[in-house]
Subunit: 361 residues, 2 copies
């Protein structure tokens, strides 16, 4: 990214001959993202992050707000899973009064049933939104089966895949989603970078207003350095995700086993029988909520933060039917490419200490 | 910015104690932007760039799209100058059919007449948009007088000030704009960074959907490294703009004089009697459009790029009444902090060469 802050500071559309080099580098980055997703480069639109990617997919598909025209509100039925990120849930809620947004409820397994989606689909359904993997539970959704159910009725499927990259191979030809959201900083790319895969032939409108860039779908000066960084991270992740997945899985299992062995009272792994991301585990601990919070603060784990409005973790745990007292004793652990056995063992020790203090006191 | 990619990679709202340091650094950056604009830090909302800042000011003020609620379209009258950037013009055009958007026409001087704004204001006017300075003509608008006219009727004024920073001191207390757009890469900050000044007490709605960040006005993970860079550039620009302005002015005058002296046929400086940015000059040359284009390509000047849809430069030149043939012979030159006398002299030579070839052929 460095040279695109300083030497190559021009924008791809500018007159100067050096702008051509910037344009070519940006197209190289687009190829990197395409390799991550398994699509053609022209099916990738760069964004400022995952939130913007989800907003663009949902509103861009359903609302016609072409620059200079008045917004056409449209009407119809939209299905959204209750595990979705806020940027999908509230984009759907913000479609307007003429839209009916219905929830696909996730069972305690943490995995959505394609048959339920099939039953909820109607002739007037215009979009279905289901994430690829939960950042809290780690559960992986049967996107292919859900996509097939949608396509039988000609309904597009948007898949928020932001959580999956770098932890599992993602291939949009296999998943068959029609749009797919990418967030750079979730797989070691820069913050403030993201992308949307848009299946060739699918028509979207821009959601922001300004000079048409990114195939007319994203106005504003191209964030060249961030997108170059995103492309590099994507190329790396496309190559390494499968191998990383194996390493992460063995570390995660070492962690889960360590916690279970060292804590009396049987901590339980949530959704343990479901397909899950190799790096993620949600653990219900046999200890006091406050001690869990303190351990989490030391360990950069996530613990429930707030009740009203509920944070992402609290929401996901409620969805699978956990009680408020169970939620308060739950931690969510995500391991990364730089996590080591030593770190995992130390984390187990710290957690065991935190819980034992409670047992004694 | 570097350490916020790597060491301090957490987000300000996270649980870990290191996230507190990130939060403090971000508030320091907010103070930097506040010093640039002359406001309090809590009046600054970070964005992904100038386009988003303009979109947020216009739609955030006029449309109520709070997360989870249906968009309330509203109704009213909006005044927008015809010199505005696409991100203001098309945001206004995209307000919807219930809004009447009226144009404030700029005279050949390149400077809007506050009396014209006074005459166009109506009881139902809900917003006025006038930029601080034109990137093409360099002309500086009488924002203070326009703001006073607006406030007499209780109408807020949005000012796109993106072009002015680093070239002149900007003080929102003196300008009295109610919202003001900032774009990082216009004053040596990073691409993909921007901000909006929002006068205390003014209520805006977010224009995107997701977890509430940036005082609820901008969802999505905070782009910490970019905003740290924006803050540093803003602090520098706040200190240096006045001095830079003097240096830039002398270089610009050297360039204008050089071109006028070396070209027969009297090239003319557009809007030369109006207050202008110290670094910008639009010159109508006594030569062939194609040669001007070639010189521009070598020199990173801007020349008109396209007619349909007209690019920003073509639009601005039409606004002040230049004919199509005059527009084709016009270049727009912006000097920067790193521009030198040698570069200016070389630019004059290259331009003179380009025009002489035409005179001979």
């Amino acid at each position: 990214m460095q040279s695109y802050w300083s030497t190559h500071f021009l924008l791809p559309g500018q007159v100067h001959s050096q702008a051509q080099a910037v344009s070519e580098a940006l197209e190289g980055a687009r190829e990197g993202v395409a390799s991550l997703v398994g699509c053609e480069p022209f099916e990738i639109v760069f964004t400022g992050g995952g939130t913007e990617a989800n907003n663009l997919a949902v509103h861009g598909l359903l609302l016609n707000r072409e620059s200079g025209r008045q917004p056409s509100q449209g009407t119809g039925h939209v299905l959204v899973s209750d595990l979705e990120h806020d940027s999908v849930l509230s984009a759907a809620a913000g479609l307007g009064a003429s839209w009916e947004v219905e929830t696909i409820t996730c069972p305690p397994s943490g995995v959505i049933d394609p048959d339920q989606v099939r039953e909820l689909l109607r002739p007037e359904t215009r979009l279905v939104c289901v994430q690829l993997a939960s950042p809290v539970l780690g559960t992986i959704q049967p996107i292919r089966e859900i996509a097939d159910a949608c396509h039988n009725l000609g309904v597009p499927l948007h898949c928020d895949a932001t959580q999956a990259f770098g932890k599992m191979p993602v291939d949009v030809m296999r998943l068959r989603a029609d749009t797919l959201a990418v967030s750079g900083h979730k797989f070691y790319g820069p913050k403030g970078s993201g992308a949307v895969y848009i299946r060739r032939g699918l028509q979207l409108s821009p959601i922001a207003f300004g000079e048409p860039r990114e195939m007319g779908l994203r106005p504003g000066a191209e964030n060249v350095p961030a997108w170059i960084g995103l492309g590099a991270a994507a190329s790396l992740s496309a190559k390494c995700a499968e191998e990383a997945s194996t390493t992460l899985l063995s570390l995660r299992e070492r962690f889960s086993k360590g916690v279970i062995d060292s804590l009396k009272g049987e901590p339980s792994v949530l959704c343990s029988d479901s397909p899950r991301l190799s790096n993620t585990v949600a653990l219900e601990l046999p200890c006091n909520a406050r001690q869990v919070q303190r351990a989490a603060r030391q360990l950069v784990f996530t613990a429930p933060l707030s009740d009203a409005p509920p944070d992402e973790m609290t929401r996901a745990l409620r969805v699978i039917g956990r009680t408020e007292s169970q939620i308060a004793r739950t931690i969510c652990v995500s391991l990364g490419w730089t996590s080591s056995q030593e770190q995992v063992d130390r984390a187990v020790e710290l957690l065991a200490d935190a819980c034992e203090v409670v047992a004694v006191s």
